[in-house]
Structures are given as C-alpha cells and as structure tokens.
C-alpha cells in the first residue's frame, strides 16, 4: 500500500523531472507519451489504492522533513475515502486532459515546459489530497499556486497573459496568508501540525479560537477557490491554454479550497458562526458569479464565472454541514466543467482562436460530436432532471433547507435564484454557440483532431451519471457516496428533512431550471419568438453584468491604484530622494575625508621613509616618557 | 719593557719585508723583460750594467722624473690615491706570509713573519678584495672613456675571480684546520697540499693570474683596445705605483702559492728561507711564461670561465674534500 501511495505521488513528479531535464532533448512524441504515461500510471495506482483501501483510513509516514524539538513536520500521507476519491478524480480528469493537451498543444513548440508544469501541477494537487501535515499540505498548496501562475502566463510573451498570471498569483497569495496564520495557530494550539491530530483534538478549542480558525481557513479557501471577495483572478486566468483552464480552474486547483475545508471540517464545524460565514460566502458568490456569467461574451469567461458560481454551491453545502453533498457536487462539477472547457477549447481552436459567443452560431452543423458533448455538459450544469447535476444540486438545496439556522432560509432562496440563473447562462451559451443562426463571421471551421474529442466521451458519461452517487433513497437511490464517506469525520448520510419537503424542493428546482432553459430558448434560441432579437456580435461589450458588477475595476481603482500611487511615492520620494540620496550623501563624506588623508600619500618614497622614521622616533620618545613617568 | 723590544723587532721585520719586496718587484721587471726576450728568441735589456742588471734602476729613475699629469675634470683626490691602493694591497698581504721557520736567538723564538693572525687567510682574502678599488677608482677618477671602460671591466673581473680564489682555499683550510698561514705551513709537514689538492691549486693559480691582471687575463689593461685601460691617463710616479703593485702582487701571490700548496719553507737540505724563495719564484716565472705563450682571452670567455667553470668546480671540490676528509677521519 505504501508503495502504491508513493507511486501515486512520485509518478507525476518524475514526469515533471523528466520533462524538465530531458524534455527538450527528447522529441515531441516521447515527451507527450511520458507525460501522459506518468498521469496514467498515477491513475492506475490511485484506482488500486481506492479499491484496496476501500472505506479504510490510515496514516503512512514517508519521511521526516523537518524535526526541531517538538516541531516535527513529516511527509505523511493520510488515506481515507475522501482523499482516495479526490486522488482518483484528480488523476482521472488530469489524465484525460493530458491526452487532450497532446492534441490541443500540437502546434506549440514549448511542449516540454507545458507538460512539465502540468505534471508538477498534478503532483502538487495529489500532495494536497493526501497530505496529513498542514505544512506538507501547504507545499502542495503553494505548488498548485506556482504551477497555476506558470500555466496562466504560459504564453508569457503576451504581456496581458503574463500579467494575468501575476494577478492570479498575487490574489491567491492573499488567501495563503490566512493559511499561514492558521498553520501557526494550529501549532500553538495542538503542538502539532498533523491533520489527524488536529481533527482528533479539535474539541478542546474554545469557541472564539474555533471561530478564528474557521474564519482563517475560510479565508485561505476563498483565495484558492476564487470566492468573494477574491474572485477576480479566475476569469483572467482564462489567458492560459484551454486545457489548463479545464484542469486548474475547473476540476482541481480551485476545488483545493473546498477540499481543505472538508479535510479540516471538524475544526470548522465547531463554530456555527464560521459555518454560517462559509455558507454566506458560498451563496453570495454563487449569485454574483451567475449574474456575471450572464453578461459575459467570451466563451471561456462564461465558464470561468460559472466555475466560481458552482464553487459557491460547494461552499454553501459545506456551510450547511453536508460534506457528502459538497463532495458529490465537486465530483460532478469536475466532470462536467472540464468537459465544457474542453469543448470550448475545441470550438475556439476550430474558429481560429475566436472566443466571442456572439460571433459564433450554427456550429452544430460543423462539429456534431462537440455539439452533443457540450449539450451533455450544459444539461449537467443547468441541473436538468434527471441528470447528475440535478441530483447533486438537489441534495445541496435540501441540506441548506434542512439547516435549522433561520438565516439558511435566506440562503436557500438565494441558491434557488442562482439555480435559475445557472440554467439560463448555460443554455444561453449553448444556444449561442451551436444553434443560433450562423453568424457571418463563422467560416472556415477547422477540423478538430480526434485526440481532442476522444477523451471527452468518458467525461460526458460521468458528468451525466455522477449524480447517481448521491441518489437519495427517497427516489430509490442508494446514496452511495454518503455511505462511502461515512467514516469521514463530519459526514452525514441523511439530511434530516421530511420526504415531502425534499420532493417539493426537487420539483421547484427542476421547474426553475426548465423555465430558465425556455427563457434562454426565447432569448437566444434558433427561432425568433415574440420579436426578440438575438444578440449581435457588432454591439459593443459593456454593461454591469459584462464587467462582473465592476468588482475588478473596483479593486483596480480602490486597491491597486492607491497601492500604485503609494508605491510610486515610496519609490520616487522615500527611496530615490530619501534613502538613495542619503546614501550618496554619506558616501560623499569618504572622498572628502580621503582627500584630506590623500595629502600624506604623496607616492614619494622619501615621504614614506620619513613617516617610518617619525614612527620610530615616536615609539622611542614614548618609551622614554613612560619610563620617566614610571608607567 | 718587553713590548718596546717587540715593537722594535716588528719595525725591523716590516723594514726587511718591504725592502725585500721592493727589491723583488724591481728584479721582477728585469726578469720579465729578460725572460720574454729569451722566449721570443732575443736578448732583452743588456745595456745598463752587466747583463743589463741595472735596468730596473734606470726604469725607476725614468718614471720618477717624468711629469705627473692630471687630466682635466679628474677627481683629483681619488686620482691620487687609487694607485696607492693597488700597491698597498699586496704589501698588506705580505704581512701575514711566513717566510721561514722560527728564528732562534738563544731561548727566544722569533717568528719570521710580521703578524701571525689567527684569521690570516681571511685577512688575505679581505685585503685582496680591496684591490678592485684601485682599479675601479683609478679608471673612474681619470674622467676618460678608455679608463672608465677598463675600470668597469677590471671591477667585474676582480669580483668574479675573488669568489673562486676564496673558495679554492676552503679545502686547504679544511685540511689544515686553521686560518692561520703558519698553521697551514705546519700542516704540510708530511706532504705539500698540491699533491692532495691539485684542483684547488689549479683554480687558485688561474684565479690569482686573473687577480693580478696578467695575460691572458689582462683585459682591464688591454693595450690594443683600451690603450692601457684604467691607467691610460696615469704617468710618472703614479703609473709606476700601478706597475709596482702588479709586480709585488705577483711575488706575493707566488709566496702564497708556496704557503698554501707547496709546503712553504719546508724542504730538504737547503735552509728554509732558500726553499721559500725558490718556491715563491715558481709562480711569477710561470706567469711570465704564460704571458709569452698565450693570447688574450675575450671578455665574455673570461667571465664564463670564472662563473661557469671555476666556481662550480670549486664547490664540487669542497664537497669532495669534505666527504673524503670525513671518510678518512672515521
């Protein structure tokens, strides 16, 4: 078991090392095969571990990393159903995306750098999944941050893309500060940084301390998962290659925040305030991002806001105290969102890097395969019954409704509204891209290689079916996921609400989703109804929704701008005029001093000999004087 | 009052030695001229006195009566006293040379030398090293290009050969175990050192030839290139002093060769003094013979001989002597 776990982690790392050391020497094909093989091997190991370690949980120590007094940081692996499931998902989705990348990056000369980062990213994500030590976890946490930065700015020669990478890096750093403080607090409180120990001893915490820790963890998760108020980096992160967007900003990295909260659920759950805050952040973000997605015109941006919105749902589920629901949502979201992103990638490449959905339309004719795949993803995203998305969302909504706290009723209504909006923007996207009359800008559609569409079919299948894992018993399901996760601390198999309410919720949910689809059909559909004019590619992109409610420009003008001004002041006034000039002034003392001393350095031997003589005489006279004074 | 007697004896000794040396020097001039004549199949001087025996007196008178010329721009003081140095050096060396075995007058034994220094050999070397001043200063003070070149040559030559001169005597000191010349002679009671130290003898002989500026090593004078070298500008009495110095030094060097290598005054049948005189005369005669036989060497050859042949040979000889002495003693 130890070997299998080690292999899961080491294979991607070795792949990254291979790419870094030999990737440029090897030609394209071996490099691609090596990259995919590393992830595939990791997936096989994860599958083996999943099966062998069914419903078990244990800790394995690989080696001690740092050991100072009682401050011990070990590279421990904590294996339980949650982490094994996470690892399985990560390796599976990553593996498919690797294969897809082979097609997508077929013309890029920098393939070895790309696959190196990608492999390294998978390794870091797996470290997050398995780490038992928060510091060890932090390594993975920073690792994904770095890889994300490197991949967003992959095409670094484009300054806009490079700065998008920097933006993502900086904003996620804000969250990392919270994590760092939390690590410190953990060590102070528990004298250990092992998650097992922390979770076991969480009960000893005072209420205030628990709240503080919960909020700190929320803060770090918010940064990673692009929740409000730190959402703004994720839409910009679309600057990277599309598979990267799929992998990082849909399936894996952004879920790290949620996953962190799941791992440390016993700590977070101690404080009702923290739980409420988690849920509040989730629902507000879900609403905000869904609204923003509605206004976007770039296909990837729509999906990016959608990701943010869906992550909000996960937070909401967590805040409501339902790990299984959150995890189920995470899994199905990973599948359908990566599916959607990869489809988007196909579309963009087919249309020669064209991302504006208003400039698309009628693509069904050109790429029927992608059409059906996208439809599967859209259906899952919109949570149309009876597909995966619907079942998961239903469980989340039920969990929120079932929370006794009255404020959760408000959250419930918000979540319903977000559901409606989700459906709306999902089908807006679908209709605009595939079914609307063909825009005149669409011509010369490039064929997409089979290696790019091939991996999407299993994803589509899983996206549609993943919800059945959470299939509630009321509907004849087995609630397999909650049962599987039963051993995980804080997980609940059943949500304690009456069956009638649950059915009611499902009905409302389905109705809302369907209504939204209809509305989308009316507004953006292939047929003109009620005199509604479809959107036009020529109309300028503006408006509150397009600008994501001006959050980014708000940050720009009220945080970044003052910061820049301050930095300028510090640079020009404090540094150049103060420090630099001070140093220069003080340095000028020495030439002046030296000019005084230089007088002695005549360069003439006679002067030096005279000085030597003078020194000798001074010694002699000094000796005489001290002798006579009896010193 | 014994020290007054001693002082008187000393004065007598000095007077005798000076007289003998001057006499010998004058005689040497005649001998050289006569010998050269014979070697060149001619008579040599034979007009003044019987067989030309009074020729030295005539030469001396001529030189004394000649005008004493001081060149323009010469450094007068140095110009005056430089020849004296050349003449003084061999005279000083003669002070430590033992001429004969101790003279017995009743019970008291009077050593037949002016001063038996315990560092006699070092004294000889020290004083010999001064002769370079006479050459160098004389040439420099003359304010003449020829003299200057001659004196530079002379200084370099003397410095070079002093080294092998001194080092060739080290084996002698090692064998005798003393710096005192009397002890060295006494150490040769059984056999003269020339038998055990032929290499030393050869080096000493060649070096002393160079030291006294004799042919084939007379480059500082080199009449044909330097018109007399360092003494070009000298005339009359001062020129005579240079000559006197050269001949006295020939005699003294002969005496030293006798002391160091030929067993000094020791010899069968004849009285010690006679043996000593005979041995002393060997070297000057040989010098004259060489002069008549060999051409002058080139300057670089001279320096190469000194530094590259004689000096290493000396060192090897010293090491060999030391090794053999160690072997014999143990």
């Amino acid at each position: 078991m130890k070997a299998i776990l080690a292999l899961i982690l080491l294979l991607p790392l070795c792949g990254a090392l291979f790419q870094a050391l030999l990737g440029r020497a090897a030609s394209r094909r071996p490099a691609e095969i090596a990259a995919c093989a590393a992830i595939a091997g990791s997936f096989v190991c994860a599958l083996a571990a999943f099966i062998l370690g069914w419903e078990q949980s244990f800790t394995l120590e690989f080696f001690r990393w740092i050991a100072v007094d009682n401050f011990v940081i070990a590279a421990d692996v904590f294996f339980n159903p949650l982490s094994s499931l996470m690892a399985l998902m990560v390796t599976f989705v990553s593996g498919l995306i690797h294969v897809y990348s082979v097609g997508y990056m077929r013309e890029d000369p920098d393939y070895s750098r790309y696959f190196c980062y990608l492999n390294l990213f998978v390794f870091s994500m797996l470290v997050i999944a398995f780490a038992d030590n928060v510091v060890f976890l932090f390594v993975g946490w920073e690792g994904v941050g770095f890889c994300s930065y490197a991949l967003i700015g992959f095409w670094y020669s484009d300054e806009e893309k490079a700065s998008a990478g920097k933006k993502a890096f900086l904003l996620t750093r804000i969250g990392d500060v919270g994590f760092g403080v939390a690590i410190g607090l953990f060590f102070v409180q528990f004298s250990s940084t092992s998650i097992t120990v922390i979770n076991a001893n969480a009960g000893q915490l005072t209420a205030a301390m628990a709240t503080a820790m919960g909020l700190l963890l929320l803060w770090s998760a918010v940064g990673k998962s692009a929740q409000l108020p730190l959402t703004v980096w994720l839409p910009d992160a679309m600057a990277g290659p599309t598979p990267v967007s799929a992998l990082i900003h849909a399936a894996t990295m952004v879920t790290a925040g949620v996953y962190l909260l799941m791992r440390l659920y016993p700590v977070v759950a101690l404080s009702p305030d923290a739980m409420t805050a988690v849920a509040a952040v989730g629902v507000v973000t879900a609403l905000y991002a869904a609204l923003s997605a509605l206004g976007q015109r770039d296909i990837k941006k729509v999906l990016a806001y959608s990701t943010i919105s869906q992550l909000g749902y996960m937070f909401l589920a967590l805040g409501a105290g339902d790990i299984s629901g959150s995890m189920g949502f995470l899994l199905s979201h990973a599948f359908y969102k990566s599916l959607l992103f990869l489809c988007a990638g196909c579309v963009i490449q087919a249309l020669h890097e064209q991302g504006d959905i208003y400039a698309m339309g009628g693509l069904r004719r050109f790429m029927p395969g992608v059409f059906w795949l996208f439809l599967a993803g859209a259906v899952s995203l919109a949570a149309l019954p009876p597909f995966g998305g619907f079942l998961n969302k239903d469980r989340v909504l039920a969990a929120v409704f079932g929370n006794p706290d009255p404020v959760f009723r408000v959250f419930f209504i918000g979540a319903l509204a977000a559901t409606f909006l989700t459906s709306l923007y999902a089908f807006r996207l679908f209709f605009c891209v595939f079914l609307r009359p063909q825009a005149e800008t669409v011509h010369d559609v490039r064929p997409v290689p089979g290696i790019m569409t091939g991996p999407l079919w299993p994803l589509a299948l899983l996206a549609l079916s993943a919800g059945f894992l959470n299939f509630a018993p009321e509907w004849g399901g087995g609630a397999w996921l909650p049962r599987f996760l039963e051993t995980v601390q804080g997980s609940v198999a059943h949500i304690g609400i009456p069956r009638e309410s649950e059915r009611m919720i499902a009905a409302v949910d389905a109705l809302l989703a369907l209504t939204a689809v209809l509305l989308a059909f009316v507004l953006y559909g292939p047929v003109r109804l009620f005199g509604v004019r479809g959107p036009d590619a020529r109309q300028p992109a503006r408006g509150g929704l397009f600008s994501a409610l001006y959050l980014d420009s708000f940050y720009r003008s009220f945080i970044a701008r003052p910061f820049e001004v301050l930095a300028n002041i510090l640079w020009h006034v404090a540094d150049e005029k103060g420090v630099d000039r001070g140093i220069i002034r003080s340095a000028e003392i020495f030439p002046n001093l030296a000019a005084g001393i230089r007088f002695w350095t005549t360069g003439k031997l006679s002067t030096y000999l005279g000085m030597l003589f003078l020194g000798f005489v001074a010694l002699l006279v000094g000796l005489t004087v001290t002798f006579y004074l009896g010193l | 009052m014994w020290w007054i007697v001693g002082f008187v004896v000393l004065l007598i000794k000095v007077a005798v030695v000076l007289g003998v040396l001057f006499g010998f020097a004058a005689g040497m001039v005649l001998v050289e001229r006569k010998l050269l004549g014979r070697l060149q199949i001619r008579y040599g001087p034979n007009r003044v006195g019987p067989f030309g025996l009074l020729q030295p007196v005539a030469d001396g008178l001529k030189l004394l009566l000649k005008e004493d010329i001081v060149p323009k721009g010469a450094d007068r003081i140095i110009f005056f006293f430089a020849p004296a140095v050349v003449a003084l050096v061999p005279l000083l060396i003669a002070a430590v040379v033992p001429f004969s075995s101790d003279l017995k007058i009743g019970e008291t034994r009077i050593p037949v030398l002016i001063a038996d220094l315990n560092v006699g050999l070092l004294f000889f070397l020290a004083v010999a090293s001064l002769s370079v001043y006479g050459v160098a200063l004389g040439g420099w003070a003359s304010n003449s290009k020829y003299s200057m070149l001659g004196s530079v040559r002379g200084a370099a030559q003397l410095i070079s050969y002093e080294l092998s001169l001194g080092l060739s005597l080290v084996p002698v000191v090692m064998l005798a175990g003393s710096f005192s010349l009397v002890d060295i002679v006494n150490a040769q009671a059984e056999y003269p050192f020339i038998l055990v130290q032929p290499v030393s003898f050869l080096i000493f002989f060649i070096s002393s030839m160079a030291e006294s500026n004799r042919l084939p090593f007379d480059l500082p004078e080199a009449e044909n290139e330097l018109i007399g070298g360092f003494h070009t500008e000298y005339s009359g009495m001062r020129f005579a002093l240079y000559f006197l110095g050269e001949y006295i030094s020939m005699v003294v060097l002969g005496a030293l060769v006798a002391v160091f290598f030929l067993g000094g005054w020791r010899g069968p049948v004849l009285p010690p003094l006679a043996w000593f005189l005979i041995k002393t005369m060997i070297t000057p005669v040989f010098f004259i013979w060489t002069r008549a036989t060999l051409p002058r060497v080139r300057y670089d050859q001279l320096m190469q001989l000194g530094w590259k042949i004689l000096l290493p040979l000396c060192l090897v000889n010293i090491i060999a002597t030391g090794g053999i002495a160690l072997l014999v003693r143990s």
Binding site: A594, I597, R598, F599, W600, T601, T602, G603, K604, L605, S606, L609, G610, L612, F613, F616 | -
Partner: protein, 101 residues
C-alpha cells in the same frame, strides 16, 4: 677594559640614526640603500658589543646573518635600481610616484 657597554650602544645608536637620517633625507635611491646599509651595520656593532658583554657567541652569529641579509638586500635592491633606471631614466626616489593619492 675596552669600553663600557653604554659607549658601544651610543656608538651603535649614533650610527643607526645617521643611517636613518640618510634614508629619510636623501632623495637618491642609492643613498637610501646606503642608509639602510649603515643601519644594518650599526645593529652589527651593537650585537658584537653585546656578544662580548655577555660572553656568548650568539651576537656574533647574528652579525653573520645580518651580513647575509645585507648582501641579499643590496643585490636585489641594486637590481631594482638598475631596472627602474632603465624605465624612468632616473634614480630619484621622488620620480617614482605613480601610486600617489
């Protein structure tokens, strides 16, 4: 009695100071070297006197060393003077002032 130790030391000190003054006052490289020689010689006088004063030979031995040092110093020093004379056509110590401040 030949002299007191004091007198030997005074003699030695006087000669030493004369040498030091010579080295410091003269501008000619050769005279500076001469001054150094005088100082070394003065040290020799003091050492020989001390050797006699305490009736041990170490003082005399040191004079041997001083002589060796002097010989080495003069050979290199004069070679340097010749060398620098070739370069600057001067033996004036003050004309070697390229390193002045």
């Amino acid at each position: 009695m030949i002299a007191t130790m004091n007198e030997v030391l005074i003699l030695s000190g006087l000669v030493f100071i004369l040498g030091a003054v010579c080295a410091a006052a003269r501008r000619n490289l050769i005279m500076i070297l001469v001054g150094v020689e005088i100082m070394l010689n003065a040290a020799g006088i003091a050492l020989v006197g001390a050797s006699l004063r305490w009736a041990v030979l170490d003082g005399q031995v040191f004079v041997i060393f001083i002589m060796a040092f002097a010989a080495a110093e003069v050979s290199v020093g004069l070679a340097l003077i010749v060398f620098s004379q070739r370069r600057t056509k001067s033996v004036n110590a003050d004309s070697f002032s390229l390193l002045r401040g």
